[in-house]
């Protein structure tokens, strides 16, 4: 923790410390509960698709993306073809290309043995949480790693529970837990909102997201929303550095 007066973070200030990792582990706790439940949902689906516990865990451990795994599982059950399965993953996870690009100014100066494991553990929730922290001056990239790991573990545990216990699990929607990521997105959106200067990019992203969601629901909504927001911010940039 440095106690210098707050200044806009620059690349040379970036650190990756144990304290940052611990802060991420703690901040990710709430989201971890939702991820656990989501992991259980995938585990149940995997057991219904006759996957063994090992196969389900291998999927969760290597792909680590709920929507992509569920879509791939459905496709594989029908066709058992490799290329459509890979294409499904690429489409459902295309948003991570944006997430990684947005992390470049923060993680860019760190060594590869730190950045690539951090990127491996990247999820929607911990990325959003990290970007919110970054906007309020966080320099310690350990936060991104810690908040990622704290969601990866319950993802695997949830998958295992889902496969083993199967459909005996009560419907998580009853407790509103399917709403967790949306709820967090709203809270973080309020937090990163800087006022009028965000209005154009945010409004354009909303319109684009609603249109895409109407015609191609699924993996593309988030990607198009993110791209639209970035494009509008790029085009309407007025030369002033905003922090």
């Amino acid at each position: 923790m440095n106690m210098q007066p707050p200044a806009p973070p620059t690349a040379s200030d970036v650190t990756f410390t144990r304290a940052g990792i611990v802060a991420g582990l703690i901040a990710g706790q709430t989201l971890a509960a939702g991820v656990l439940v989501y992991g259980i949902v995938f585990g149940v689906l995997a057991s219904e698709a006759k996957l063994t516990a090992l196969e389900a865990l291998l999927m969760s451990g290597s792909i680590y993306s709920g929507t992509a795994q569920m879509a791939a599982l459905q496709g594989w059950a029908h066709t058992r073809l490799l290329l459509p399965a890979i294409a499904t993953i690429l489409i459902m996870n295309a948003r991570y290309v944006l997430y990684g690009a947005a992390l470049r100014p923060w993680l860019g100066t760190l060594p590869a043995h730190v950045t690539y494991p951090t990127l491996f553990f990247l999820g929607d929730g911990n990325w959003a949480l990290s970007m919110q922290r970054r906007a309020s001056g966080e320099v310690d990239a350990g936060f991104v790693f810690g908040s990622g790991v704290v969601m990866f573990v319950p993802w695997l545990v949830g998958t295992a529970i889902g496969v083993l216990v199967g459909s005996a699990i009560p419907d998580p929607a009853r407790f509103g837990l399917d709403f967790m990521l949306v709820a967090f997105s709203m809270a973080l959106a309020v937090s990163v909102w800087r006022g009028r200067s965000d209005l154009r990019a945010a409004g354009a992203a909303l319109v684009a997201a609603l249109v895409v969601n109407n015609f191609f629901p699924g993996g593309w909504t988030i990607v198009i929303a993110g791209l639209t927001g970035a494009l509008v911010a790029y085009v309407t940039f007025d030369g002033e550095a905003r922090t």
Partner: protein
């Protein structure tokens, strides 16, 4: 579905594809100079993505979920705690569903 070599191969390939997405954007930006204009674009991504995550809920327009979003915004403004805000939203949705809304 029994464990077959082709399924294990598929899992490995899908895992690689997933990591390629996670690392791809980061790697790509290594070769693109981050100008102030581009940085403004990158900074706009988080809010736009959060809106994209909320969009399907807004489009469905169910009362408990929309009301929950309003509550979340209010709690977030009052407490500055994403934890408290998100949980109160989840509670609103759970209550709404319990009452069959």
């Amino acid at each position: 579905m029994n464990t077959t070599p082709d399924f294990l191969l598929a899992i490995a390939a899908m895992g690689l594809a997933a990591f390629a997405c996670r690392a791809g954007g980061f790697l790509m930006m290594r070769y693109v100079p981050v100008t102030p204009r581009l940085e403004a674009a990158l900074k706009a991504i988080p809010l736009a993505v959060m809106i994209g995550i909320m969009a399907p809920v807004l489009a469905r327009g169910r009362f408990p979920e929309i009301f929950a979003l309003v509550i979340i915004a209010a709690v977030m403004r009052a407490t500055r705690s994403d934890f408290a805000a998100a949980l109160s939203g989840v509670a609103v949705v759970a209550m709404g569903r319990a009452f069959g809304l």
